[in-house]
Symmetry: C4
Subunit: 222 residues, 4 copies
């Protein structure tokens, strides 16, 4: 199993999970009061947006991690499968949370259920990273040792943070959902990713893709 | 994140969203009157076809835009994720509009809901383009300045046009659906894309693909 | 749009449509009589298998056609989108036909509905081929002229055959389903494909893939 | 059809099937008793996890098999389609088994139904391998003859083992589900795969991917 194939498979799973999310919003029943029924579903839409952001940003960070790897081994593939399982499962608690909020029933349970999924996800990320980075097992030689230590701290802290966030499920489900969205945004701008981002544009330009090796469209036109 | 990887992920999302659309057509209930039940669902089929055309043509134009980019950066990736969200969400208003039309209930609300999704989509396109093209941030050096200006006008105009089209939701939902289909067709033949199309065949022929580098099948046979 | 990108997108749509088919089999309701309920659904399973074979074999023949193309142009892309629409739509009539047969209600209507979808599909194939091959518009120079003529005859005949097969919907829905399965099998072994298949193994061996360029696993072990 | 294209299509189907599995867990109905309703669904979750593991590990072993092939031919493609059909179908018996266990109704039938699907899958694997390996039809010259014999024994034994496992459906559905999970784990560590795994890291390192040819991120930072 080459690294690129594992990445392609993972990308596929991310893409499918993020697209399936739309099925978590329940269809209206009474079209005579459609406006009311759609408005009533706004928590499902909110949960949809939060989960979309979570999966989208995790997809991005998944690449960041993979960019630092030299090779993958079989245990890593299984850690990755476990991570993917927590992501493909996310549509279910997303649907439950949206529906519970819309019904104003079982909101604590629904938020806690969503929270547990995210804790498992955070632990899956930490496990994936620890396996890859312990003793620099799978890392590229050029990946700086100082970054390795910091990334390890951040991934372990992530698992702790998601465990703490779980507590808000028992306070208020809307606050909980907001915190989940906020955490996703934090990871959109986390230190490791930002550094990679800074170096990415140039790197991409040099590397290019099949498309970017297309001859440029002919010069200025009328 | 290389440009080609972002494109592949986006392609996957387009492909899944376009295929999931079929789930928006509700199953018949009374098979004793199946012919009537299927005929009754023709607005769902019409909405399906319009949304299929919208997603298919957007997929095509997504490539056109990407062909003009030299690199991608992190904000662009997030604009692209937002654009993808409006597309993965489309099956939901498609199902609602088709069902409302079939029931002749809540058609104005359903059309307005569909229209809002398309407005967000048009703004996502404009934002994506503005980010990529302002100061030629991500554009290829060879992309003509005159085209950049015209494309900017067209993308901003697109956002305005979709906002205007929204008004037809309050006139008649069928007319509204027809206009959405018409706008998709317009974008199938918009100036930028057409120019690219004119230069594409030759370009593709020169570039080729893995498949096209396969040895040609042996000559004429019996 | 390069040919390889169009192929990748099409492959994705084929893969998703073929996998979504499983959702067309309705879930059991009464688990106290599960054996009976599952047995009662055998026509849904039969329709599932026929549609799976149809999509799988069309995916295969789609590549055969693409292998003969030198380039793709924009109209071809739209013909291809239309073809994909008939394929992504197939799960719907598949579910309806399976359910109608299981209920023994509306079977003629359901079969006719499935038949119309397949007629549209056959016309989409013929249109795709005619656009690509008229005046050898998109064909490779090495594609033999005699094959071009024969392929054109076969694609046009296919449209006629599916139109004829439609008639069996009014005779018996089971016979109709069997004929659809039989036609799929015919296309699994059609002359054009078989010729390509004969030349394929060697061609693949010479071309290889990223994976096949992996160093061979080290020699014999204990 | 090149080997790499067949692999990509298969990967897509694996990725979609593994992601669709989440739709097999039925949504809660009574949100007033959400905690109870979710807890009640734990067998659906267990079935989900087992099927996820099965598909994930089969995806992995699918690559192992493909790595040993020099070329693919048309019959192989059809054997592969049959294998994929058993995998895309798996979500259905998974949903049925989870629901039956949750309801404590029809568990024997549901387990037997799941078992039959897995038997067909095991036979599909054996058929795929026998076609590829008989007379070394599609194998790489470097694939050791001793391994070929052992792999043949293992694939045929697999078909026998899954047939035996089927018997446990009639003993206890939970035990049956556990055995299915255990068999998946066994295949995660089966002799052929393990050998490949041992040689994989180095091989991947030498081959690399587009991403891994990206220039390394610049050296240590503050």
């Amino acid at each position: 199993m080459s690294k690129s194939r594992l990445e392609t498979f993972s990308d596929g799973v991310f893409a499918i999970a993020i697209t399936l999310l739309v099925l978590t919003i329940s269809s209206p029943v009474d079209y005579g009061r459609l406006g009311h029924q759609l408005a009533h579903r706004w928590p499902s839409l909110a949960a949809y947006i939060v989960s979309f952001a979570i999966i989208g940003i995790m997809w991005l960070n998944h690449h960041t991690v993979f960019n630092h790897l030299e090779v993958v081994d079989r245990p890593f593939i299984f850690f990755n499968l476990f991570l993917l399982m927590t992501i493909t499962f996310l549509p279910y608690p997303t649907g439950v949370l949206g529906e519970a909020l819309a019904k104003s029933q079982g909101t604590t349970t629904a938020a806690a259920f969503y929270g547990v999924t995210m804790i498992l996800n955070a632990f899956a990320w930490a496990a994936l990273w620890l396996w890859a980075s312990r003793g620099r097992r799978l890392l590229r030689p050029s990946f700086p040792e100082s970054e390795r230590v910091m990334a390890t701290v951040l991934f372990v802290a992530g698992a702790a943070v998601y465990t703490l966030a779980f507590g808000f499920a028992f306070l208020d489900a809307y606050v909980f959902l907001g915190i989940q969205g906020g955490l996703a945004l934090y990871y959109a701008f986390d230190p490791i990713s930002r550094r990679v981002a800074r170096s990415a544009p140039g790197a991409v330009g040099r590397e290019g893709s099949v498309e970017s090796r297309l001859p440029d469209p002919p010069g200025p036109r009328e």
